[in-house]
Amino acid sequence: MHPVLKLVSQRLALGILLLFSASVLIFVGTQILPGDVAQSILGQSATPEALANLRAELGLNDPPMTRYFNWLYAALHGDLGTALTNGQDIATSMGRRLGNTLFLAFWAAVISVPLAIFLGLLAVRYRDRWPDKLISGVTLASISIPEFLIGYLVVYFVAVKLGWFSSVAMINDGMSLLEKLNAIALPVFVLVLVVLAHMMRMTRAAILNVMQSAYIETAELKGLSSFNVIFRHAFPNAISPIVNVVMLNLAYLVVGVVVVEVVFVYPGMGQYLVDHVAKRDVPVVQACGLVFAGVYIGLNMIADIVSILANPRLRHPK
């Protein structure tokens, strides 16, 4: 087998194994820890009978292994169970919310990725001069503030003081794309700010690393223009690190989404998860955890596969 194919399939297998292990971890985290789900739901004042009934109803008396495999089997068939709090089918309630979250994350990514790469290149081009220093100062500041606070700062200054856009991002199926985009403008802006800083810092580092290679000096000593040096020699070698940076930060976006949705009361997965953690609705939390972990692991896997594909040593073996 071609070594690239072998590595890629290894990486795919590893991704599936990780996802499986993550499901075990999430299950262990919610079911086997000392906390008692039934107790959590009913509170300290619950009668022993009520507790026993609920335990039986939730299948908490089965051995953990049985419960895990029942859960996994159902989850693999698209059945994520029903929410404890309102008895609704989780898969159905989650479906639309997942769509909303992906819609938000998609637009954040569409704006932040090219912008981060452009600004990263700019910082490298003007290294140690004012554009670079300004960019790194701003990124340091934005890395130092938690996402939700950036959210409120934006709400305060943009929505309240300037009166642009709404501070609440409600969307529904009846809205046109433009209306939807208008509604999510602020959350997207906040997500872009959050991801941009990390992505740009890492892009800058990745490009600088490539620019310091000896073959860049060779290209300069050939008398190539800076444009040619960057696009013919630096770029082919920078693709893999940059894709890695982008994927890592998209994974980061997945987490940022949770908090930003809460700030803007956006009907997405994050809001759904946080609400049900507070209500101690374990099946919903498990399902959401699994979906988030799946997206995260998937993005990391894509990053690894791209860097395997971009490596000339692997593509053209001896």
Partner: protein, 545 residues
Amino acid sequence: MADTLLQINGLKIEATVFPPGEPPQDITIVDGVSLSLEKGRVLGLIGESGAGKSTIGLSAMAYGRGGVRITGGEVLVNGRDILPLGTRGLRALRGAEVTYVAQSAAAAFNPAKKLLEQVIEATLVHGRASKREAEERAIALFAKLGLPEPETFGNRYPHQVSGGQLQRAMTALALCPQPDLVIFDEPTTALDVTTQIDVLAAIKEAIRDTGVAALYITHDLAVVAQVSDDIMVLQSGRTVEYGSTDQIINHPQEEYTRALVSVRSIEHKEKLPTDAPVLRVKNITARYSGTQFDVLKGISVDLSPGQTLAVVGESGSGKSTLARVITGLLPPRDGTIEFAGRTLASDQKNRPREDLRELQMIYQMADVAMNPRQTVGTIIGRPLEFYFGLRGAEKRRRIIELLDEIEMGEAFIDRYPAELSGGQKQRVCIARALAAKPKLIICDEVTSALDPLVADGILKLLLNLQKVEDVAYLFITHDLATVRAIADSIAVMYRGEVVRYGPKSEVLAPPFDDYTDLLLSSVPEMQLGWLEKVIATRKMESAGN
């Protein structure tokens, strides 16, 4: 002269350094260097590390590496000063009139592009030939430089060819635009000695046939003597001596040049082996875990007390693996090691402390062989404490004694390794080994990271210490000149086997086996015309066969 191609007058080059915890400082790297080079001639720039030779070379392209600035003098290429040229003018110069061959071709080629594309790129960008013409030229150069399958060689990626081939391809890259001047920056330093001679011959032939002028930068005087017409000797950014190759090699005027020319002329009288060897390596076979082939195949050598056994070989010969087996870091698959009459445990962890004490080791890279957070006193003192239980004043007295033995003295006792020069670091490592009062010291390429004069000092020190302390050395090296200087007996290794073994006088005397012959004849000698002689002999031999 009418045909002067490169004229450098009063060149001054500065750089800004950022010493930790102090304000940035400007230091002078090159000061008042002048030279001139005519068409079709080769000028060698020679000096130790830090002499500024690469910096001068790159100044012929008005290029400064990492914060280096040309602050004075003029650089004339074809009669016009290139220093005032703007970006556009310099771009037209670089890669067209003047080209560059880097020391490490492996790093200087873009890993993501095919060789041919990179070789012809400058020619195309500067419009010096059409694409087809450039490709034909490149293929012709590949053939001239002795690359295999010149027609298709360029379709490979850099990682698909060997180091020696890459260095030739780099030369092709520099010659393809048909420049007036090529700067060769240590083009053969990273290569094995048997590869070096072929690349050197190929470069020399290419220079002669194309009639290009060249600046040849190296630290190895014997190498530069083979290719250059004139030589400039540099030290700390200043010219020490500048003259024809014949004058520099045969009639050096300056003290420093004389030292460089006579380097490694240490006289060492060979001692005869005794009946009771201190080290007896018997039939050792070893491989690294997880691999399928033996790195060492049935190695047997003896070493008598107070003598030196040199283990010579090129990279991949297994000579360093032999050291790991003897020290017990890599237990062999087969065979035994006898040390001072007893059989050593194959794994270092099972050896009694006395065995560990009597067998010491010195490493190639002295700076990573010493803990950067310990002072010289702690580094040398630890074995004293560990093996002999010395403490306090007694330990200090012994440390100072050892510091005197390595010709450094008490003043160094509280210094950190970072505050020492390369030679001093290696001396401290020697003292640390001696502190254990060993019977045998394994020296793994201990001089190969050092400048020739410094290396010479270390070798002299080792020889003196051997007389005083009666310690035996197992000396691992790729450098035959070093071997000649210090060995009593020699083992030549090739692909995991000892191909020739015996007292120095026998090993270095004919008749030779093929490999030893190749190895010995490949070591550059400090005489004019040596390269031609060797190449001619080899051609005759192969014709005879």
